[in-house]
C-alpha cells in the first residue's frame, strides 16, 4: 500500500475529530479567556471556586488511595491464595463496575443513608436514638468512589498478576528475602505499570464524578458540581474557567501517571506458572471464609437493594428497615405509561447509537494508527486520546456550548449521545486493552 492511501482514509477521521473533539474543547478554553482573563481572576478570587478545586483534588487522591487499598490486596489474595469462598468472591469482585454511577449512588443512599437499610439495622440492634452515621460530605463521596472504582485497580493488577512470572518471587525468596521485602522489592515494582493504569482510571473517574458529590456532597463544593452552579446562576465565563481547570487537572494526572507507568515497562520473557497457595491453618481458613462472605455481601448488597426497591410499593416505605409491601405495579406502570417509558427508551437508544458510532470510528482509527504508517498518524492518535483524558463533565460542557443552540443546560439528547461517543474514542489504553484485559471507562457524567 502506498503511503498516500491511508492518509486519504485518515483525512475524514481527522476532520471528524477536529470538529467534535478539538473544536469544542478549544472553544471552552477560548471562552474562558474572553474578556482578557477577567473570568480567571474571578475564579481565582472566589473562595468557593478555590474550595471546589481543592476538594475535587483531595477527593480524587483519597479515592485513588482507597481504591488501591481495596483493589490491590484483593487482587493479590485472589491470584495467589486458595481459601473457602475464593471462587464466589472472585465472581462478584467486579460487580460494582456493572452499576452505573447514579444507580450506585441511589443504592448506597438506600443502604447506608440516614434511613438506609444497613444504618437502621445497626441503629435498632444497638438501640441508638439516631442513625450511626451520616452518609454525607467528602468521606462519603470517597466511600462511594472506592466501592465503584476499586474495580479498575483490581482488574489491572489481576491481569498483571496473571502474566507475572512467579519464579521472580521464588528467586527473591531463594536469595534470602522475606515476604515483606519480596513484595516491596520485586512484586510491587513489577506491578507498577498496572497499578499506575488502574490509579489513573480512578483519579480521572473521580475527578469527573458528578452523581456522588451531587447526592452525598451536602454543602461541599467540587468542580463538577460547581460548574453546574455557575451555569445555573448565569456565570458562563466562570463556568468555562472551571471546565478548563477540571480538564487541566485531569490531563496533569494523566501525564503524571503515564510517566510513572512508562518508567517501568518490562517484557517478562521467562515463565513460571502462577500457583495459588492454599491457606492451611484452620483459624485462617475460617477467618478467610468469614471475611470473604462479608465482602461478597457488601459487594452484592447494592444490586439487591436496587432490585428490592423496584418491587416496593411507592410511598409505603417510611420508618421500617425494609420496604413493608411489594408489588409489580412499578413495572406495570413502566410498561403502560408512555411518560415513564420515554426516558428508558431514550437511554437505550443513546447507548445503542453511541456504541455503534464507537465501533465504526474506533475500529477505523485503531486500524489506521496501529497498522498503517502515514503523515498525520500521530495527530490522529493524539486527537483520539484527548476525550479520554478529559472528564465527561468538561466534554459535555464543550459540546453543549459549541453545538447546542438551545439553553445549554437543557442539552439535547443528540449532544449527550455525542458526548458519550467522544469519550469512547480509542485512546492508546483501549487499544492496549485488546491485548491485555483492561477495563474501559464508563462515562461518569
Amino acid at each position: 500500500m502506498s503511503a498516500r492511501r491511508p492518509l486519504l482514509a485518515a483525512l475524514p477521521l481527522i476532520a471528524l475529530l477536529l470538529w467534535v473533539v478539538a473544536y469544542p474543547n478549544a472553544s471552552v478554553v477560548l471562552e474562558s479567556l474572553a474578556g482578557g482573563g477577567v473570568h480567571w481572576r474571578e475564579f481565582l478570587e472566589s473562595p468557593s471556586d478555590r474550595e471546589a478545586l481543592v476538594t475535587s483534588l483531595w477527593i480524587s487522591v483519597a479515592s485513588v488511595v482507597a481504591s488501591v487499598a481495596v483493589g490491590l490486596p484483593l487482587a493479590l489474595l485472589l491470584a495467589r491464595a486458595d481459601f473457602p469462598g475464593r471462587r464466589l468472591l472472585s465472581a462478584v469482585a467486579t460487580l460494582p463496575a456493572a452499576l452505573p454511577p447514579l444507580v450506585g449512588v441511589i443504592a448506597f443512599s438506600f443502604l447506608y443513608g440516614e434511613s438506609g437499610v444497613v444504618s437502621r439495622t445497626i441503629q435498632q440492634l444497638l438501640g441508638l436514638a439516631d442513625a450511626p452515621w451520616r452518609l454525607s460530605g467528602g468521606w462519603a463521596i470517597v466511600f462511594v468512589h472506592a466501592y465503584t472504582m476499586y474495580v479498575y485497580v483490581f482488574l489491572f493488577v489481576s491481569a498483571a498478576l496473571e502474566r507475572t512470572d512467579t519464579s521472580l518471587e521464588e528467586a527473591a525468596r531463594g536469595l534470602g528475602h522475606g515476604p515483606v521485602r519480596r513484595f516491596v522489592r520485586v512484586t510491587l515494582p513489577l506491578l507498577t505499570p498496572a497499578l499506575a493504569g488502574g490509579m489513573l482510571l480512578v483519579f480521572m473517574s473521580s475527578l469527573g464524578s458528578f452523581s456522588a458529590p451531587y447526592v452525598f456532597g451536602g454543602r461541599l463544593r467540587v468542580l463538577s458540581t460547581q460548574i453546574l452552579v455557575s451555569r445555573t446562576s448565569g456565570a458562563m465565563g466562570v463556568a468555562f474557567v472551571e471546565t478548563t481547570v477540571l480538564a487541566l487537572s485531569a490531563v496533569a494526572g494523566l501525564l503524571l501517571l503515564r510517566w510513572l507507568e512508562g518508567r517501568r515497562r518490562y517484557t517478562v520473557t521467562s515463565k513460571g506458572r502462577p500457583v495459588r497457595v492454599p491457606i492451611r491453618s484452620r483459624p485462617a481458613r475460617i477467618a478467610a471464609a468469614v471475611a470473604s462472605t462479608l465482602l461478597v455481601t457488601v459487594l452484592v448488597l447494592p444490586h439487591l437493594m436496587i432490585l428490592l426497591v423496584a418491587f416496593a410499593v411507592d410511598g409505603a416505605w417510611t420508618i421500617q428497615v425494609l420496604p413493608p409491601a411489594y408489588t409489580l405495579d412499578n413495572f406495570r406502570a413502566l410498561a403502560t405509561d408512555p411518560a415513564l417509558w420515554r426516558p428508558v427508551r431514550a437511554t437505550l437508544l443513546m447507548a445503542l447509537i453511541a456504541t455503534a458510532a464507537n465501533v465504526v470510528v474506533c475500529f477505523a482509527i485503531a486500524w489506521l494508527t496501529v497498522l498503517r504508517r502515514f503523515t498525520g498518524r500521530r495527530a490522529l492518535d493524539l486527537l483520539a486520546v484527548v476525550p479520554w483524558a478529559i472528564p465527561p463533565t468538561a466534554i459535555a460542557i464543550g459540546l453543549a456550548a459549541t453545538f447546542d443552540t438551545n439553553d445549554p443546560l437543557r442539552r439535547s439528547s443528540r449532544a449527550r449521545s455525542r458526548a458519550r461517543s467522544a469519550r469512547w474514542s480509542p485512546g492508546s489504553r483501549t487499544r492496549r486493552a485488546a491485548w491485555a484485559p483492561a477495563p474501559g471507562r464508563p462515562s461518569a457524567a
Partner: protein, 355 residues
C-alpha cells in the same frame, strides 16, 4: 562452605499422580550431581523440594546431617539458577547480582563491589550497569549464575541451565559451567533432560523415571554398566540383543554364528535367566563378508556424520531379526552390502529383559 546433601525416602504426591516416589540420594560436599530424566520423571519436583519451594509429603532432606525439610527457602542459603534465569527485569545487572547480598545485610558499597567482582569472574565486568533485558541469552545465564554464586551458597541448584541456549553456545557453556562450578567448589545439583549436558558437567548422575531413581553413579558407570533395561535404553544408543548369560561371559548367536563375549558384572551377581546384551554402536565394527570373524549381516542404512559414519546392519537373532547400530571410522559400506559385524570392545553389559 559447601555442604553435603541427603534425600531420604522423599515422596511428593500431586492430585492425580506420584511425582517423586521414595527417593533416596546423596550428594557429597563439592560434588556436581545431575538429575537426569525425561519430562515428567520428577526431576524438577525433586529440585524444587531441595530448594524448599515444594514440600515433601514423606521423607526428609538433610544438609550435613541436619534435617532441613521444614526450613523455608529464604533460610536455606541455597543458590538457584532458574530455567529461564528469573532475572529481575527492573534491576540492573549489578543490582541483580547484589540482591542476595542485600538480604544478608551486606553494606551497599561492599555488595556492589562483590557483585562487580562476581560479574568479572563470568566475563561480564563491562556490563554491570546494563539493564538485564539488554543482555543475550548466554549473558543472562551467566548473570543468573553469578547471582546464585555470589552469596556463597551451601548448595547450588540449577534447573535446566543450558536448555535455552542455541547448540553452538550450549557446547561452549557446558565446559564453562563445569569450570565455574569447580572453581567455586560448590555442591551442585542440576536438572537436565539432556544426557550430553549431564555427561559434560556432572561428576555423578542420578537417572530418574516416573518419580523413581533408576540408577545413580558416574557417567561411565551408567553407560557401561546400566542397572536395568530402562537405563540402557535411556543412556546412550545401542542395540539390546537376547543372549545366554553364563556368569563371566554371555553367548550371542547372530546370523547363525555363536560367540562368547565377556560381561561386566558386579562380583557375586547371579546370571540372568532372560539376559539382553547391550551392544554400544562404537563397540561394533564392520568387516568384509568374507572375514573369518564376526556376525554375518546386511547393511540397511548409512549416515555419514563427518568424523564417523553410522550404519544399521540387519541380522538374524534367536528371536527374529535384529538391527545392530554401529558407529565407525569405516565409511565405505553401502546399503545392501553383505558384511560381518565384529565386537571390538569387551566386556559388554547385560540387563534383564524384564522392565
Amino acid at each position: 562452605m559447601s555442604g553435603a546433601l541427603a534425600l531420604d525416602g522423599v515422596t511428593r504426591r500431586f492430585a492425580t499422580q506420584v511425582a517423586v516416589q521414595a527417593l533416596t540420594l546423596d550428594v557429597r560436599a563439592g560434588e556436581l550431581l545431575a538429575l537426569l530424566g525425561a519430562s515428567g520423571s520428577g526431576k524438577t519436583t525433586t529440585l524444587r523440594m531441595v530448594a524448599g519451594y515444594e514440600h515433601p509429603d514423606d521423607g526428609a532432606i538433610r544438609l550435613d546431617g541436619r534435617d532441613i525439610t521444614a526450613l523455608p527457602p529464604e533460610r536455606r542459603g541455597f543458590g538457584m539458577v532458574f530455567q529461564h534465569y528469573a532475572l529481575f527485569p527492573h534491576l540492573s545487572v549489578q543490582d541483580n547480582v547484589a540482591f542476595g547480598l542485600e538480604a544478608r545485610g551486606v553494606a551497599r558499597d561492599v555488595r556492589r563491589r562483590q557483585a562487580t567482582h562476581a560479574l568479572e569472574q563470568v566475563g561480564l565486568g563491562a556490563k554491570v550497569a546494563r539493564p538485564v533485558q539488554a543482555l543475550s541469552g548466554g549473558e543472562q545465564q551467566r548473570v543468573a549464575l553469578a547471582r546464585a554464586l555470589v552469596i556463597e551458597p551451601r548448595v547450588l541448584l540449577l534447573d535446566e541451565p543450558l536448555s535455552n541456549l542455541d547448540p553452538l553456545l550450549r557446547e561452549e557453556m557446558r565446559t564453562e559451567l563445569r569450570e565455574t562450578l569447580r572453581r567455586a567448589q560448590v555442591t551442585a545439583l542440576f536438572v537436565t533432560h539432556d544426557q550430553e549436558d549431564a555427561f559434560a558437567v556432572a561428576d555423578r548422575i542420578a537417572l530418574l523415571a516416573d518419580g523413581r531413581l533408576l540408577q545413580h553413579g558416574a557417567p561411565e558407570q551408567l553407560y557401561d554398566r546400566p542397572a536395568s533395561r530402562a537405563v540402557a535404553a535411556f543412556i546412550g544408543r545401542g542395540t539390546m540383543v537376547p543372549c545366554e548369560d553364563r556368569g563371566t561371559h554371555a553367548r550371542l548367536v547372530l546370523g547363525g554364528v555363536a560367540r562368547d563375549v565377556a560381561v561386566t558384572r558386579a562380583h557375586g551377581d547371579a546370571p540372568l535367566a532372560d539376559a539382553l546384551a547391550v551392544l554400544r554402536p562404537e563397540a561394533l565394527a564392520l568387516a568384509p563378508a568374507d572375514a573369518t570373524q564376526g556376525w554375518p549381516a546386511r547393511l540397511v542404512s548409512r549416515r555419514f556424520a563427518g568424523s564417523a559414519t553410522a550404519y544399521v546392519a540387519e541380522t538374524e537373532g534367536p528371536a527374529g531379526p535384529v538391527r545392530l547400530e554401529l558407529v565407525t571410522a569405516e565409511r565405505h559400506g553401502a546399503v545392501g552390502d553383505a558384511v560381518r559385524v565384529q565386537l571390538v570392545r569387551e566386556p559388554v553389559a547385560v540387563v534383564s529383559a524384564a522392565e
